[in-house]
C-alpha cells in the first residue's frame, strides 16, 4: 500500500494545480464516478481549482441511479416470509417509497449485509429453510463477481439461492447523457476501476460521435488533477480519449471478467434515476439462469412515490449542484436522507455535505 503516498505528496499536488491554472480559459468537466466525486470533495480540489475549472458530478454512483421502483421491489422482497435478502451495505439506508432495507430489517425482515457476493452463497447453504436473494447493484466493476456467484450456485445446484439484478452499464448511460438536449461539458473524467473491466476503447464513441474529450484516471488526488490538466489542454488540442490509469487499464479491458459477465447476463433496458429508461443499459440473467432470477417474482409494492421534492435525478445528470436543492442540509442529511445521493458513500450530496458544506 506504500504507493498511495506518492499520489498524495503535497509538492506534486501543488505543481499540478499550478500547471492547470497556467492553461488559459475555463472548463466545465464532469466526473462520472462517485468515487471520483468523493476524492474531489475530500481533497478540497474545487477550492484550489476555482475559477478556471468547474467540476460537476455525473451518474456514476450505482446506489444513486437505482430507480425508486427497484428499491421498492428489494424492500418488498425482504418483507416476504421465508426470504433472506443479502445486500451490499450501501443499499441499506436508501429510501424507497415506503422505507428502506434498514427500516425493513428493523421491523423484522431478514436482511444481511455482505461484503462479497460469495457470502450470499454461504448464507444460502447455512439457511436451507430460507430463500436467499442476492441484491446485485453496481456497474461493470461488481457485475462479474455477481455473475460468478450465480454461475457457482447454478453449478452446485443450490436450490434456495436467487439474484435480483439491478446492475447497470456505464457506456449506455453516458451515451444517453451526452445526447440530452442542452447537455454540455468540456470533458469527462472517467472511472479507472470500471475501465479496468470494460477497457478504455469502450468510451471511444464519446470522442467520435459527440466530440467530448475523455480521460480515464485513478482515484488519488494526483490522478484526478492529472486528468483535469489533460482535459483542459484538449480545449486547444482537440478532443481525444486518453488513459492516465495505464497502471491498471488496458484497451481491451479484462477478458476473464467480461466473459463471466456475458456468460450469465445479457443486456436489458434499465430504469435510471434522473435519466429514465435507457435501452441496453442494464443486465438481466440469461435464459439458462432464469430459475435463479428473483426479478420475476410477484411482489406487492407501493406505487413509486416522488420522495418529496428530492432532486437527486437532476444532480445525477449534472443539471444542479447539491447546494441548489432546497432540501440539501435542511430536511435531507446523512442522518435522515430524503434521496440516495445523501446516503451512499459515493453520493454527490453526501460528498458535499461531508466535506464542502459550511456549518449553519
Amino acid at each position: 500500500m506504500k504507493y498511495l503516498d506518492e499520489f498524495r505528496d503535497p509538492g506534486t499536488l501543488r505543481a499540478l494545480v499550478a500547471k492547470i491554472a497556467g492553461l488559459p480559459g475555463s472548463v466545465t468537466l464532469m466526473e462520472v464516478c462517485g468515487t471520483h466525486t468523493m476524492a474531489i470533495s475530500k481533497a478540497g480540489l474545487r477550492q484550489v481549482l476555482s475559477p478556471g475549472v468547474e467540476l460537476v458530478s455525473g451518474p456514476g454512483c450505482p446506489v444513486c441511479v437505482t430507480a425508486v421502483a427497484d428499491i421498492d421491489r428489494a424492500v418488498a422482497l425482504a418483507h416476504m416470509p421465508g426470504v433472506m435478502l443479502a445486500t451490499f451495505g450501501d443499499m441499506m439506508k436508501v429510501p424507497g417509497t415506503s422505507g428502506s432495507l434498514a427500516g425493513a430489517a428493523a421491523r423484522g425482515a431478514q436482511v444481511r449485509v455482505v461484503y462479497s457476493p460469495l457470502e450470499a452463497l454461504v448464507l444460502a447453504r447455512e439457511n436451507p429453510g430460507l430463500d436467499v436473494v442476492l441484491l446485485g447493484v453496481g456497474f461493470e466493476t461488481t457485475a462479474p463477481a455477481v455473475a460468478a456467484t450465480v454461475r457457482k450456485a447454478y453449478a452446485e445446484g443450490l436450490c434456495n439461492f436467487y439474484a435480483l439484478s439491478l446492475h447497470k452499464l456505464v457506456p449506455p448511460a453516458l451515451r444517453a447523457l451526452a445526447g440530452l438536449p442542452g447537455f454540455h461539458v468540456d470533458g469527462f473524467i472517467l472511472p479507472g476501476h470500471v475501465s479496468v473491466v470494460i477497457g478504455g476503447e469502450a468510451y471511444r464513441f464519446l470522442v467520435d460521435e459527440f466530440s467530448i474529450p475523455c480521460v480515464i484516471t485513478g482515484f488519488e488526488a494526483a490522478d484526478v488533477l492529472q486528468a483535469i490538466y489533460r482535459l483542459k489542454s484538449m480545449k486547444k488540442s482537440g478532443p481525444a480519449l486518453e488513459n492516465e490509469y495505464s497502471r491498471a487499464v488496458r484497451p481491451e479491458g479484462n477478458p476473464r471478467a467480461l466473459s463471466v459477465m456475458w456468460e450469465v447476463f445479457e443486456p436489458a433496458d434499465a430504469e435510471w434515476r434522473g435519466l429514465g429508461s435507457i435501452p441496453g443499459s442494464g443486465l438481466a440473467l440469461k435464459e439458462r439462469y432464469r430459475d435463479l432470477d428473483a426479478g420475476s417474482w410477484e411482489v406487492s409494492r407501493p406505487e413509486p412515490g416522488g420522495l418529496g421534492g428530492c432532486r437527486c435525478g437532476d444532480i445525477l445528470c449534472g443539471r444542479i449542484r447539491p447546494v441548489e436543492c432546497p432540501l440539501f442540509g435542511v430536511s435531507c442529511t446523512p442522518d435522515s436522507p430524503v434521496g440516495p445521493c445523501m446516503v451512499s458513500t459515493e453520493g454527490t450530496c453526501a460528498a458535499y455535505y461531508l466535506y464542502e458544506r459550511e456549518e449553519p
Binding site: M1, K2, L4, D5, R8, D9, P10, L13, R14, V17, C33, G34, T35, S41, K42, A43, G44, L45, Q47, V48, C61, P62, V63, F88, G89, D90, M91, M92, K93, V114, Y115, S116, E119, V137, G138, F139, T141, T142, H193, V194, A221, T333, P334, D335, S344, T345, E346, Y353, L354, Y355, E356, R357, E358, E359
Partner: protein
Amino acid sequence: MPGEVITMAHGGGGTRMLDLLERTVFPALGEEVLLGAEDAAVLPAPEGRLAVTTDSFVVRPLFFSGGDIGKLAVCGTVNDLAMVGARPLYLTLGLIIEEGLEIRTLERVLASVAATAAEAGVRVVAGDTKVVERGKADGLYVNTSGVGVIPEGVDVSISGARPGDVLLLNGFIGDHGVAVLAEREEYSFSVDLSSDCAPLAGLVADMLSAGEVHSMRDPTRGGLAAALKEMSAASGWALEVEEESVPVREQVRGVCELLGLDPLYVANEGKLVAVVPQRDVEAVLEAMRSHPLGADSTAIGRVIEGKKGRVELITALGSHRLLRMPSGEQLPRIC
C-alpha cells in the same frame, strides 16, 4: 477446568455461583476486599475531588490482536478517568455471560483484567455476575465503573481549550478499529497490526507533572474527528488540524481505502488528544515522547478564534475542509 462451560446455574445465586466466584473470579483478580464478601466494598476516602465514570464493553470478537474484552474494559474506564486528570483508584467489574461460554475463556478474560488493572495501578474492588440464555449475548459483555482522585492543582476539562493552545496526539490513529475489523470472519483480509489498547493514566500523570494541560479526550468511538468536534463544541472555540501531521500507519490507510473508511473516524483505545498552552508544549511533548505509550507523540494543530464546534482540516493541497460528527456507522462502498 478444561472444557467446562458456564450454565444458567452459575448465575443463580446458589452454590454453583459461589463455586464460580471462589474458584475462578476471586483467584484471578486477587483482591482482598472481594474476599470479604460484603454487599459493598468499604474503602478509605481519598483527599481531594473524585472522578467517577462507567462504560460497557460489547466488542466482537472477544479476543483480538493486541487485546481482549477484559483489557479493553479496564483501559476504557481508566482512560476516561485519566482524561479529567484523575489518578484511577478503584474499578467495579460487571460480567454478563452467555450460557455456554467456556470457563477457560472467562479465566483468560479475568487474567487480562487483573494484569491490565495492575499495569494501571487500579484495584477491582466490587463486581457482579449474571448469566443469560444461549443466544442472548455475544459470549460476554463487561461493564466497568471507576473511581479516581484528582490531584490538587489539576484542572483538566473538555471545555478547557483556549485560542493559541496546541493540540498534541500521542501516536498513530485507527489501529484499534482496523485490528478488530481484521479479526472478523466477514472480512477476508489479514493485517500485521495490533490494537493500541492501553491504560493511559501513567502517561497522563507524566504529562501533568511536565506542564499545564487544559483539556484531554481519548478518541475512542467516532475516532479523532469526534473527539475534536466535542472539544470544540464544549470550549466554544474552533480547531485547526493539519491532515499531514496526523500519524496514520500505511496498513491502516490501506484497509480504510479498501473499505471506504476514514482513519479520522476509526476508534482508538490507547490514544489521547491534549490541549496544551503554547508555553508548555515543548515540556509536555517531551514528557509524552519519553513514555512508552507516547513515543510517536506529535503536534497536530491548534485552537483558533472561530465558531464553536468548527474543526477545520488543512489538506496536503492547502485546501480547507470541515470535519463532521460521524453519522451512524461507516458503511463500506460497493463499486
